[in-house]
Symmetry: C2
Amino acid sequence: MESSSSTMDRVNFRTQILTRHLQNHHIPPTDLIHTAPCVNYSPPELSEPLANFDTKSLRKLLDGKSIDVIDHMFNLMIQSNLFCPRERGGKVFVSPDFNQSMEQQREMTMKRIDYLREQGAFDGWFSRKGDDGELWRFALAETVSVFDHSLGIKLGVHFFLWGGAIRFMGTKRHHDKWFKPTETFEVRGIETVTRYDARTEEFIISTPCESAQKYWIGGAANHATHTVVFSQLEINGVNEGVHAFIAQIRDADGNICPNVRIADCGHKIGLNGVDNGRIWFDNLRIPRENLLNSVADVSPDGQYLTAIKDPDQRFAAFLAPLTSGRVTIAASSMNTAKVGLAIAIRYSLSRRAFSIRPNEPEVLLLDYPSHQRRLLPLLAKTYALSFASNYLKMIYVKRTPASIKTVHVVSSALKATENHVGHLKSEYDVQLTFEGDNNVLMQQISKALLAEFLAAKKRNKPVRGLGLEHLNKPAPIIPSQLTSSTLRTTQFQTDIFCLRERDLLHRFVKEVSEHQALGESKEHIFTVTYQLAEDLGRAFSDRLILQTFLDVEATVPAGSLKDVLGLMRSMYTTILIEEDASFLRYGYLSTDNAAVVRKEVMKLCSELRPYALSLVSSLGIPDAFLAPIAFNWVDANSWSSV
Amino acid sequence: MESSSSTMDRVNFRTQILTRHLQNHHIPPTDLIHTAPCVNYSPPELSEPLANFDTKSLRKLLDGKSIDVIDHMFNLMIQSNLFCPRERGGKVFVSPDFNQSMEQQREMTMKRIDYLREQGAFDGWFSRKGDDGELWRFALAETVSVFDHSLGIKLGVHFFLWGGAIRFMGTKRHHDKWFKPTETFEVRGIETVTRYDARTEEFIISTPCESAQKYWIGGAANHATHTVVFSQLEINGVNEGVHAFIAQIRDADGNICPNVRIADCGHKIGLNGVDNGRIWFDNLRIPRENLLNSVADVSPDGQYLTAIKDPDQRFAAFLAPLTSGRVTIAASSMNTAKVGLAIAIRYSLSRRAFSIRPNEPEVLLLDYPSHQRRLLPLLAKTYALSFASNYLKMIYVKRTPASIKTVHVVSSALKATENHVGHLKSEYDVQLTFEGDNNVLMQQISKALLAEFLAAKKRNKPVRGLGLEHLNKPAPIIPSQLTSSTLRTTQFQTDIFCLRERDLLHRFVKEVSEHQALGESKEHIFTVTYQLAEDLGRAFSDRLILQTFLDVEATVPAGSLKDVLGLMRSMYTTILIEEDASFLRYGYLSTDNAAVVRKEVMKLCSELRPYALSLVSSLGIPDAFLAPIAFNWVDANSWSSV
């Protein structure tokens, strides 16, 4: 081995490469303006092995019946100059101009919505019924987010929050009045919370103090004309709990209404296409009919009418339908991951850097094992999480009063988990906290699991639902000496994930009951048991995702596609076992086995390497939504394309 | 325990809180415009326990002799309207206007530099000698970055890259000519790399091909007038390796010079105050004297003159002085962490959310154990890494030819490590990759350690330098049953960090030699051993940081300040042992002991909790550089301050 400084070695080696690079193009000095392309771009399609599976079938596993609406939305965006198409390196790409000011980004976002509306993209938003209608709405909302997170959020606030409140909390009189103008954006909606007073026959909405102002309301600063206000409803001095009301905040010309004050939240670190604002109400009067009366109403003579006696239960009934927010966050975080990985992997298949030995050709980035390790596990996670988010959408659209808790727990699990792939980039960063801070969501999952477990125990019945049936069986046994082939079996993968969830749940139960024995309140107990709660929440999420992956695999006939899916599933489970310290911490993995797992990660990387391009193509993101660096970046960077 | 849905419980509980909150302010409905402050801001200074140590002394441990220049720079910035002072919640804050376009941000950055120059801030940049001069330059550059990373980088490119190249690679003729106009910004410098041809008596700089264009050159797009070009030097057909030349690229009026083409890199995800550009040279002629001739020169009649025969060694000699980049990145990442933590901790000491039990007062965020866990370990890391970056600065300013390798390895370790605190925020994100990708830096450290170890073995001598002397002693023994008090001893903390470094080094040596036995090239071997190399690089960095922390503690007399430092050091080591799976993976920690470590993290959080405000105050960031949310956010958000 070398005894001299490796730093110097590295510098020297680099110099040799540079020198050789230049000597290969020994152009006579008088002819130096000649711009010979030193580095040629070669499309990876020419050099990569052909996929031995059908990429269309793989994409179908990801996008299912929504493929047509997804591709239709992509095409609408590519075809309009509003989406800033620009030609680079012989291809056309679309992306927002982030150099625009906040004001310009907001205006462009609104114009893009107007264009999509004119193209009929939103026709039938409220009339499409059943599972197909729900899936169509999700697909539409997720696809616009591929272009720009602002566009997705602005549409989401309008259709899912405002539109969802009208749909689920209102009744026929509201549907008849508001669905059409909402679909056509004649009214532009937002959602907020405020306080109500009903001393007269009208509703009067007020903001009693500074800390009751409505903050970060999407759409409030510029474009919204109407809002759904959540407020305490007081009638004859009795507080009936939180209800929802429609209030107009701007007239058709965009002027702020009397008795309403609005301030702009201003520039943000990202999402500047969304005009967040703050609202104060000063005794704003609204007609009695503007109460969204799905669970309670007020008669003309001021009687409060409801079938649900308990005000807290009424509030809970209101909020339940609004979990769709977490569903869309989970799903669109996958699109962010797909775009990022498609760009990074395509580039790493066309960019070479340094030779392993002097005078050998330079090496493709993706042929470096350390680079494989950084990208290929993320690709496996993206597939696994996409399958899981499809499952979440399915249980959401088929929800029943009995399953709403499952939807809540699963959406919390996936919303928190999936954002780990989305990273902390500025446009996307808010996903970590809105619709529930991810750390808190993990604790919520654990509380729900604890409640399920204890309830079953109390009833002396097996645990049911949330995929927890494995708790009724004996604990799985992990082989004392793992091998590469064991690591790739469905049996082992399921066993170790179930073992972890089971053991952490038992530990959590024990820890909570120890605190209870000391007479502590349950609220206090949950604040001090966050360590186990977060581990358990993650264990639940990972096991759930593995299960949905296996469900997808089961639909694929034996053959090369099933094989590559198996490889991806093994990568997904193996990388989690390597990365999450809980497997070692709680003893599910011995240190010997941990070493086997680490080796397997490298091995899986090298085996997935040949499929990288096909797996990325199967993601179904049109080239135009990627970036020049994913294609001919030599041309795209040349002087002639400046 | 509860058997009903915890979701519903949570919703109900929240409703109760909201209801109580509103009922506490039961204002008559006719008087609803009255804006009673429901939530009062109470400065944490009034409620938090007084520090039982001297915060000035603690700050002195962080900023040492540089306190005066740091505070002077802060004051210069606070006093000028160019730094956008705005009053919020009764205090004045300065921060860039990120809603400005790229063009506006660039112009503002340049204006801020002009203002600081007019105020004499840079006077003596080149003339201040010795250790004090170097530390003064570092302090100055780091402090402007507290305001804005663009300002720091733009100054760094000018003074450290351009100015550093003139200083270290040039000789008296260049110093006499360029120091003064650089200090006064009459010339505005950048650094790049290109190719040289010397067929005539002049130097002719050319860009032979598209891929040889100079990319991402800070300052090139708008403001730079001169650049240092790195190029292969060819004389009489012989390639003499890479040399550095001064080239003018714009005239005094800002027009691009003939034979130079420049393109703008455009808008970036952050750092838009820095005007990055791309440069092509078309047979640009420059005077012979513009060669920076510290190690080699060319005579008027075209003879190449040098004392260093080997061209690669000449190149390495050129580059060695430029490691200051990593030093400043390591140090200014600490400032980013300080600002972020000061804001987050101050806010968490003034913001309450939910009661533990109904009808109890709401709880301060920092009194939630899970919130302590998220902030207080970062505070301990920030202190530890600040001490370590001061150490790095010290060995940099006292560098000798013999110690330059140590500086390189230590700066790689800290540059890569410290950015973990800085997170992936858009303005700061580039720090992860520029001046060396952090993953690659970890591998470089391991290669250097391997070389040291093998060289000592070959010479049959003890290992010396880089703090590796512990390798000559027997392996430390970790107690089989850890306790809270053991975990807090210097002995244990040092032992487990040394054990990890030692064992990983031995494993790395073994893995590399196994590959060698198979006849693989060393370049290939380093590409496949990245897993151990990255673990080892981190082990080295962590042990180094612990050592500098202990060095600082040793200077403090017994008393409350030393006690709180000890608590912070224990938090720093304990959190690393909890977070880095390598302690379990390689068996330095049993699963039983891992459980003790986890408990200790919670315990340390609660013990550090009372010092949070004092520790944050001791960071020495002026209030104006924090944010409204760190102070009276109720006032700052009120309608009257819109």
